[in-house]
């Protein structure tokens, strides 16, 4: 790791030196000196940013390009400042059969978040109805069509709830990381590389396309270009599963101030539905 950091540092230094030298040369051969100067300024600005942002510096040391870290951090910081928002998602989940055949399942959901500790997510336009409620005290999954729900006590922040749901309930939100307050660290702690692929358009919105590698997971994210750096697309590739299946999520209809009341996040069982329990995590099937 220190070696990588050293290499990186040397590379940066060399690049800047090259740039400076080129700038000096350009002054003599080019009538337009502004562009090289801007490039130099950008390089220095990037270095300062690295010093100012501990998370960014760490990510860069791990092999994440500074520009990629900067754009990602801008998004996570921005989403972290949103006290209340709703967003629709369209999801594709791949599964791999023993035969090697890949199957995709699609679903869509509407999600509403109120910081620091409220969230509701419901599937929309789907054959299966399922809703998730988190009101800061309890976490509920409700299947209206089946008439069953389960409610369990939950931690008092969204970050802790996401971890609790994953570790204790085996209820996993692949994109849940994006809405946590420490999203940047969650995403980059194990990143071994990251770079800016380029500009792209997702759902009619101009975005920066970033690509990262984190151990057995490769992931990509498309972040809106402009003063509202919102995530617009998110892809996770699982390298430790045969055929490397992917989870893909498109995010649309962002509303940054939805009108919802606190009770919107509270679950009140309708008459006739039955409360059931979670199987303990680790429960296997038949154990002959």
């Amino acid at each position: 790791m220190p070696a990588a950091a050293d290499d990186r540092g040397a590379h940066n230094w060399t690049s800047e030196q090259d740039t400076t030298m080129r700038n000096q040369a350009m002054k003599y051969i080019s009538p337009v000196g502004a562009m090289p100067s801007l490039a130099t300024a950008a390089a220095i600005g990037s270095m300062m940013l690295a010093l100012m942002l501990p998370g960014t510096a760490r990510a860069q040391a791990a092999g994440v390009d500074l520009d990629a870290a900067k754009i990602l951090k801008r998004m996570t910081d921005y989403v972290g400042t949103l006290q209340r928002f709703s967003v629709d998602t369209s999801n594709t989940l791949e599964v791999v059969l023993v035969s090697g055949q890949k199957i995709q399942f699609t679903s869509a959901s509407r999600n509403t978040v109120q910081r620091p500790n409220k969230l509701r997510s419901e599937r929309i336009g789907d054959l299966i109805s399922q809703s998730f409620y988190y009101d800061g005290r309890t976490f509920t999954i409700f299947n209206p069509g089946d008439g069953y729900y389960v409610t369990v006590p939950a931690p008092n922040t969204i970050d802790a709830m996401v971890d609790f749901a994953r570790d204790s309930l085996d209820v996993i939100a692949p994109a849940g990381d994006l809405i946590t307050m420490d999203a940047f660290d969650r995403l980059t702690d194990d990143a071994t590389s990251g770079f800016v692929v380029g500009k792209s358009v997702v759902g009619g919105v101009r975005c920066d396309h970033l690509a990262f590698r984190s151990g057995v997971v490769d992931w990509q994210i498309w972040i809106e270009d402009g003063d509202k750096p919102l995530p617009r697309k998110y892809v996770i590739t699982s390298l430790d599963v045969d055929q490397a299946p992917q989870f893909e999520q498109l995010l649309s209809n962002w509303s940054l101030d939805p009108a919802v009341e606190a009770r919107y996040f509270e679950f009140t069982p309708p008459p006739g539905v039955k409360a059931i329990e979670f199987l303990p995590v680790g429960t296997a099937g038949a154990k002959p």
Binding site: N91, L93, V95, V96, L97, V98, S99, I103, F105, S107, A108, S109, N111, V113, L119, S121, I128, I141, D146, Y148, V150, D163, R166, D167, D170, V171, I172, A173, P174, A175, G176, D177, R186, D189, D190, S214, G215, V216, W219, I236, S238, L239, D240, V241, D242, P245, F247, Q249, K274, I276, E277, F278, L279, V281, G282, T283, G285, A286, K287, P288
Partner: protein
Amino acid sequence: MISSRKAIAYGAAFVVLFSAEVAPEAPLGLRLVPEAQAIVGAPLTPGSVAGVARRTTRRTVAVVGTEEASEASAQQAAVTQQQAATAQQQSATAAQQSATAQQQTAAAQQQAAAAPASGGALPLGTVVPSLPADCSTTTAGGVEYYKCGANYYRTAFQGSNLVYVTAQP
């Protein structure tokens, strides 16, 4: 071998919440995947970037296949897919991955072979994604059970999936 191929393997826990995730429910899965086959690997897709890095619990995905009515017996095959080690070993090599896959396949076949023979009672705690045909409901101690042949089942959530677990009322 044959029964393991027919077994439906179900990854519980697919996704949820914000991402909306969510795995296909068992009955839907049966329709979509008529040739029931075990699904390789767990989780089927990474739960989350942080999940892979931070997961501390040993995760086991349960599965079990229920034969359709055409099969004389309700043979159950359970495949335990363990992801544990790989989740924490960030630097899994290709060789390790293929070894894991073989291991899972072997485990599936082994357990399928050891599954109870036709028609009998299943071990308590057996998890199935859908109920066999011809069940009746009964309530004991405030809990609803489905009686199907020799077995009683209660409904539960495994991750975000609705499943049925053999139980003793």
